[in-house]
């Protein structure tokens, strides 16, 4: 059992390495896009905010909102990309799934490893941006632990939702379309361009509780700003629920792969 698990980890790392190499080979700017796009969003945000609200740049709240938008978009894109990659992993790996008998774990693990690599790039970018906007890093360990917990919640919720969608994405192209069309609404209802509500009696509070990306973003923002954590429970709940979904989906997909490979044709 342990050897099998170790082999899956190594196979996952191998596939992740292959994906990283392909990403670098097939794109001129490679992984730089993970930085370029959020930076462009942040620039647009600063410009639009100034044009609409005419805020004074010396207002510290202004730079907090810039950081929130920048880190929010950066992390949202990571989360959404991971969710989409996992939901399409059967289709995109059908050649190897047909060609080799190595099970599905390596493919899921490879995407998680690749996702973690991307997350590192994106999080380092956020860390670099913090002093650039004149904000200081959190000085207590617990805030950093909350950040790690929130990032973990993002990874497992993306994997869980992706795995739930993966078999259906093979059968119906609608899944991909639906995901694409959901991106903007999720950005708009998440605490990216505005702060997360703190009153639990408001509807938006419950929307954020059920939005898998809202609570981690709110926790990360609160950790950076040193404000009270309102959405920590939601983060923990999402981690627990997601782990159960991942275990259940992985078990199911293992049985479903032959059905899906058949429907994908040759």
């Amino acid at each position: 059992m342990n050897t099998k698990f170790a082999n899956s980890i190594i196979a996952g790392l191998t596939l992740a390495g292959r994906n990283v190499r392909l990403q670098i080979q097939e794109h001129l700017l490679g992984y730089s896009w993970n930085i370029i796009i959020p930076v462009l969003y942040a620039i647009c945000f600063i410009f639009v905010k100034q044009a609409i609200l005419g805020r004074d740049q010396s207002d510290p709240e202004h730079w907090w909102s810039v950081l929130r938008a920048f880190s929010g978009i950066t992390l949202f894109q990571f989360w959404f990309q991971l969710l989409r990659d996992i939901s399409e992993f059967i289709r995109s790996n059908r050649g190897v799934l047909r060609g080799l008998n190595i099970g599905i774990s390596p493919f899921i693990l490879s995407l998680i490893f690749e996702g973690m690599f991307l997350l590192c790039i994106r999080f380092i970018t956020i860390l670099v941006a913090i002093p650039l906007v004149g904000i200081s890093y959190p000085d207590n360990l617990i805030s950093w632990l909350y950040i790690v917990l929130a990032l973990l919640s993002m990874i497992v919720s993306a994997v869980a939702i992706g795995l739930l969608l993966a078999p259906w994405s093979v059968l119906y192209g609608d899944v991909r379309r639906a995901l694409q069309s959901m991106a903007l609404p999720i950005i708009l209802i998440s605490p990216i361009f505005y702060p997360a509500v703190t009153q639990s009696e408001l509807v938006m509070y419950w929307v954020n509780m059920f939005n898998p990306i809202a609570s981690p973003l709110a926790v990360i923002n609160a950790s950076f700003q040193g404000t009270p954590q309102i959405y920590l429970t939601a983060v923990v709940a999402w981690i627990c629920v997601s782990i159960v979904i991942v275990a259940w989906s992985s078990f199911n997909i293992r049985k479903q792969i032959p059905i899906l490979l058949e429907r994908m044709g040759s």
């Binding site: 191998t14 050649g95 047909r98 060609g99 008998n101 190595i102 078999p167 059968l171 049985k255 490979l261």
Partner: protein, 393 residues
């Protein structure tokens, strides 16, 4: 000896309709999600049985050939055994490590080099360090594609992909090896290398081998099954499966509308050993062949071509009146063409006559095909098997 593969009462169905197929798949997915039996055993609307009641076993050191015409269910059977698709009834017991080459370059990333692809494959197969290096070297040596090994796979020819795919799958030592039409591409030296490799593997491996080539099946297989419309209609000696395959090929050939042009202009009598040979009759290797042609309706000085076709491989010989420097007499109604001996591998053949204008530019007539069969035991795959005087000096 223990069987490494045991297939018992295997049934598999497909749907002809895409929408229905998706609906059934969705239903199967939902059923498997809640732990219910995910597969309906009865045929649903638009479904048909692609495989019905398939039974066989293969032991270590045995090569089982699987023959059948296109759409018979051979590839479906292999995919069921390799657990790449789900079967509906029956069982497949696999004892040992299974390697398969069902799709030639399955799993190779087109933008990565052959070496990088093979390395990833080796790593996925659990090879590390020296073992991995040895695997890559062995694949490179076997594939023998030179500098292309370090070029992206997307720049490979189909033959090169086949070489790399076969090498990557066969260089390992699985207990069971499944090969689907893999030797259809690649040049002769590489095919010979593959035969050697399969023979070598077959000493310690159970091999399942799908091929349309009677020669390959005769050469490589110890036993064979023949599948027709999803049913296993024969299991036994490869020659029996080959004979069935050729019988069906002949029928398929006869049922096809042959291209003819003014066939009423000629009438032909085909003789073997001076006995009239009715269409489809079986003759023996070495029989003397003659064609009698009623030329009364053909313009004098026409060019004549007698064409010999193999049902499996198309035109294989012709006898041309120009090459024989035939001089037409002032008046004649019948022409006898002595074609020599039927030095042909067992199989289905046909003769036809093509009549051209004296300058060879215009087609005047193309006769009906006269089908016949050559019986006996198949030796290798080449249709024309000439005798020679072999002299020790």
């Amino acid at each position: 000896m223990d069987s490494l593969i045991e297939v018992n009462d295997l049934w598999k169905k497909y749907s002809r309709n895409l929408k229905a197929s998706l609906r059934y798949a969705a239903r199967d997915l939902l059923a498997s999600s809640v732990g219910a039996h995910s597969v309906e055993e009865k045929l649903r609307e638009s479904e048909f049985w692609a495989l019905r009641n398939i039974n066989f076993s293969v032991q270590r050191g045995e090569v089982l050939g699987i023959m059948g015409h296109n759409g018979a269910g051979k590839s479906t059977l292999l995919k069921c055994i390799a657990n790449k698709i789900k079967y509906d009834r029956g069982s497949v017991d696999i004892r040992g490590e299974l390697a398969h080459l069902i799709e030639m370059s399955a799993g190779f990333s087109p933008t990565m080099s052959g070496r990088a692809n093979v390395k990833v494959r080796g790593q996925l197969l659990g090879k590390r360090g020296k073992q991995l290096k040895q695997y890559i070297d062995e694949v490179a040596e076997f594939a023998d594609i030179g500098e292309f090994f370090d070029s992206p796979v997307q720049f490979y020819s189909s033959g090169m992909k086949s070489r790399l795919g076969f090498a990557a799958s066969s260089v390992i030592n699985p207990d069971i090896l499944i090969l689907d039409e893999v030797l259809a591409v690649g040049d002769l030296p590489f095919r010979i290398k593959c035969y050697e490799r399969i023979n070598e593997l077959a000493k310690k491996t159970a091999v399942l081998f799908v091929s349309h080539s009677p020669g390959q099946v005769a050469r490589l297989c110890d036993r064979a099954i023949y599948i027709e419309k999803g049913r296993q209609v024969y299991e036994g000696d490869p020659q029996g499966a080959i004979a069935l395959y050729q019988d069906k090929l002949e029928k398929a050939g006869q049922s096809k509308t042959k291209g003819v042009l003014n066939p009423e202009m000629v009438s032909l009598i085909f003789k073997a050993n001076n006995q009239q040979c009715d269409p489809g009759k079986k003759i023996s290797y070495g029989d003397e062949l003659t064609l009698e042609i009623d030329i009364s309706r053909i313009p004098p000085d026409s060019q004549l071509r007698v064409i010999l076709r193999s049902t499996a491989s198309g035109a294989i010989a012709d006898w041309n009146s120009v090459r024989s420097q035939l001089q037409w007499p002032d008046s004649a109604t019948k022409l006898v063409v002595e074609l020599g001996y039927a030095e042909l591998n067992p199989g289905s053949y046909s003769l036809s006559l093509q009549v051209m204008s004296p300058n060879g530019r215009e087609h005047i007539c193309l006769s009906e095909h006269l089908p016949f069969r050559v019986g006996g035991e198949l030796m290798y795959g080449i249709a024309m098997q000439k005798r020679a005087n072999w002299i020790f000096v």
